[in-house]
């Protein structure tokens, strides 16, 4: 463990000097990130690219929780997998503590992965069915060279206590199928924090759970984030849960970030027409809902193989300005301090 940190210290330190000022102490910086997947015809002929992530930039501060919101197929999972080091960027950079991921050695990547916890969407699918909770929690520690069994046991206890699975001894010998969905998700969370990461990536952590358990898990995550000073990227399609969880919200559409703003600002004063639509589509339980129709754009998100020219939302947008929105891609405008919208309305 110590050796590895030393290794990175050498490598990370060099790059950090040059990038430190520009980043203002961000834990992670994503710079104009592009992740494209090549499509092949008959197994070899080139047939274009799926532009899953296409020019995404944002910073994540130490201990900050941001939510990435978007519909399926908008590229949020690809973004997440790239942050976890599972995809190589086609272009742009992921900078973690001052060092560009793409320049990292294999050993440094292993260290990086120990610094980034991952909470999967489907807890049952994320837990090997033939391993006990004890084994599941030991695995990351064994892989990352925590050789002392006493230390492993101690960390395991601490992690399970933190996710409120007590008495710990009772849960350790259990297999995933023997515990409830909420408890499975707690084990996944315990596993993600057991190496003491600086950042968590949570991919729809509560969408598979029952409403009554959902809030409990969100509160637990929020508590962990605050007590450990963890940076969290919370990926979701459900706007109604984000404000209990994060400070900033990033709205993705068709591989790009169309709006970035602090949560209160975004809910009070959404700027991008797509964000408007998302808010309009999200219901609160209210009997009045049944009496009115929602004003939501028809159609579906575009193909990422041949995305629309100009603004990618223009074919569905009610406020389209012909000749501009369908021709030129809008840059990020800043209609209010710290509130960015990729929309020509704010030029």
């Amino acid at each position: 463990m110590l050796e590895r940190e030393g290794e990175l210290g050498n490598e990370g330190g060099r790059v950090a000097d040059t990038l430190a000022e520009r980043q203002n102490g961000a834990l992670a910086s994503i710079r104009n990130l592009r992740v494209w997947f090549e499509l092949r015809r008959f197994g070899f002929g080139h047939a274009g690219y799926v532009r899953a992530v296409d020019g995404v930039s944002f910073d994540l501060g130490y201990g900050e929780a941001v939510a990435v919101v978007g519909e399926s197929g908008c590229g949020k999972s690809t973004l997440m997998r790239t942050l976890l080091g599972l995809h190589r960027p086609t272009g742009g950079q992921v900078i973690f503590e001052g060092a560009d991921l793409s320049t990292k050695s294999k050993a440094a990547m292993k260290w990086y992965r120990s610094q980034v916890g991952y909470i999967q969407q489907d807890p049952y699918g994320a837990l090997p069915p033939f391993m006990t909770v004890e084994r599941i929690l030991s695995e990351p520690m064994l892989i990352n060279g925590i050789k002392d069994a006493a230390e492993r046991r101690e960390r395991m206890h601490r992690a399970l206590e933190e996710v409120k699975m007590t008495p710990v001894e009772e849960f350790l010998p259990k297999f995933p199928h023997m515990i409830s969905g909420g408890q499975q998700q707690r084990v996944v969370i315990a596993r993600s924090i057991i190496l003491g990461p600086k950042m968590l990536v949570a991919d729809e952590p509560v969408s598979m759970l029952d409403a009554s358990v959902r809030v409990e898990i969100l509160k637990l995550l929020r508590g962990l984030q605050e007590s450990h000073g963890l940076a969290v990227i919370y990926i979701t399609h459900d706007l109604s849960t984000v404000r209990y969880f994060s400070e900033r919200i990033l709205v993705m559409y068709a591989g790009q970030m169309v709006e970035k703003a602090p949560i209160g600002d975004l809910l009070r004063d959404p700027r991008h027409p797509y964000t408007h639509a998302l808010l309009e589509a999200t219901s609160d339980p209210d009997a009045e809902n049944a009496t009115r129709f929602k004003d939501v754009p028809p159609g579906e998100p575009p193909s990422l193989v041949r995305p629309p020219t100009g603004c990618r939302f223009h074919p569905r947008c009610s406020r389209i300005m012909s000749g501009l929105c369908d021709k030129e891609e809008p840059p990020d405008f800043e209609p209010a301090p710290g509130h960015y919208a990729k929309c020509w309305l704010y030029r």
């Binding site: 519909e71 399926s72 409830s180 029952d210 409403a211 009554s212 358990v213 959902r214 809030v215 409990e216 969100l218 509160k219 399609h237 459900d238 706007l239 109604s240 849960t241 404000r243 209990y244 809910l267 639509a277 998302l278 808010l279 309009e280 589509a281 999200t282 219901s283 609160d284 339980p285 209210d286 009997a287 809902n289 049944a290 129709f293 929602k294 939501v296 754009p297 028809p298 579906e300």
Partner: protein, 318 residues
């Protein structure tokens, strides 16, 4: 009871045999539904919502231990019908269903147009060309482009497949459609579009709906009445307008309080504990163990307390 009652369910019971024992999935359920009304059935997973739908449509697995009670549709006692009569007279003619996952509802090797046309051929005896014409009309209703008729399910997005499954349920113009989590796998915008479409169909075609969901917020999009299920039983039935403002049963209150809200500043709460096993449900009130308002009487089974606007199974109101 309103005179335009479409469906009356009395003391419906559906128990399954399993290796661990008898699962009491639906255990003495009563409710009724008027013409052109939408009732939503909400509850946590495993509370028996889907089994209730299957019991109404008599889509039963092999391991049924007990299936009894009374279901009247337009005054006709459908429980008295034999299986073949039920298939000819009720299933898809009077009541149809949109199952939980639209992908699994569609046959992957048959064009979607043919699949939507099939019920008209089987139940109305239409010729293929006429049935396809019917299917085309239904596609228009649910907002699927006409040229999708000749496509296969894998060529359609999730939202489009869901619309096709709804078209298939609509094509025979049934009085009642059972919707089992019709939008839970879909994105918010698609979800909103589909709820808009269902509202329009309800207005234009006068169809009644039973919407089964665990998503309380979305359920309010269609609900005239709310039916809350817990551990195989109905614990509250109430007019939507009243329910969403002021649920009565302690479980309904907890369930409503657990819904995260986009607007307003209410912190959501969670319900401690877990629902009881349906194999050996507790005697007395099944929610008592998790209930913040429990008192001595809760050890006995609470009665269904009825007024003309609501029914609630709780000693607090007895």
């Amino acid at each position: 009871m309103p005179e335009s009652t479409l469906l009356q369910v009395e003391n419906l019971v559906l128990h399954f045999r399993t290796v661990k024992g008898v699962v009491q999935a639906v255990d003495g359920v009563d409710f009724d539904l008027a013409h052109n009304q939408a009732a939503v059935v909400i509850g946590e997973s495993g509370c028996g919502k889907t089994s209730l739908a299957r019991a109404i449509l008599r889509l039963l697995p092999r391991n049924v231990q007990a299936y009894s009670g009374r279901i009247r549709l337009n005054g006709l006692d459908v429980m008295a019908l034999g299986d073949e009569e039920f298939r000819r007279q009720v299933r898809w003619v009077k009541i149809s269903m949109v199952p939980q996952s639209a992908m699994n509802a569609l046959n992957p090797v048959i064009r979607v147009g043919d699949q939507v046309a099939e019920p008209s051929m089987v139940h109305h005896g239409l010729k293929k060309a006429d049935a396809l014409e019917q299917a085309r009309k239904m596609f228009e209703h649910v907002g699927v482009p006409e040229d999708f008729l000749s496509r296969y399910p894998f060529e359609l997005s999730g939202g489009m497949r869901q619309r096709v499954a709804i078209a298939m349920a609509l094509v025979t113009a049934p009085d009642l459609i059972l919707l089992d989590e019709p939008t839970s796998a879909l994105d918010v915008l698609t979800q909103a579009n589909i709820m808009n479409m269902l509202k329009r169909i309800k207005q234009e075609m006068g169809t009644s709906f039973i919407l089964i969901t665990h998503d309380v917020a979305t359920s309010s999009e269609l609900a005239d009445r709310v039916v809350v299920m817990y551990a195989g039983q109905i614990v509250e039935t109430r007019e939507a307008r009243r329910f969403f403002n002021e649920p009565l049963h302690p479980y309904s209150k907890k369930l409503m309080a657990s819904v995260p809200r986009l607007r307003g500043d209410v912190e959501p709460e969670f319900i401690t504990g877990q629902p009881p096993s349906l194999i050996r449900p507790p005697s007395g009130c099944r929610f008592a163990e998790r209930c913040p308002e429990r008192f001595e009487r809760c050890a006995e089974e609470p009665p269904m307390v009825r007024s003309h606007v609501h029914a609630v199974k709780c000693w607090l109101y007895a």
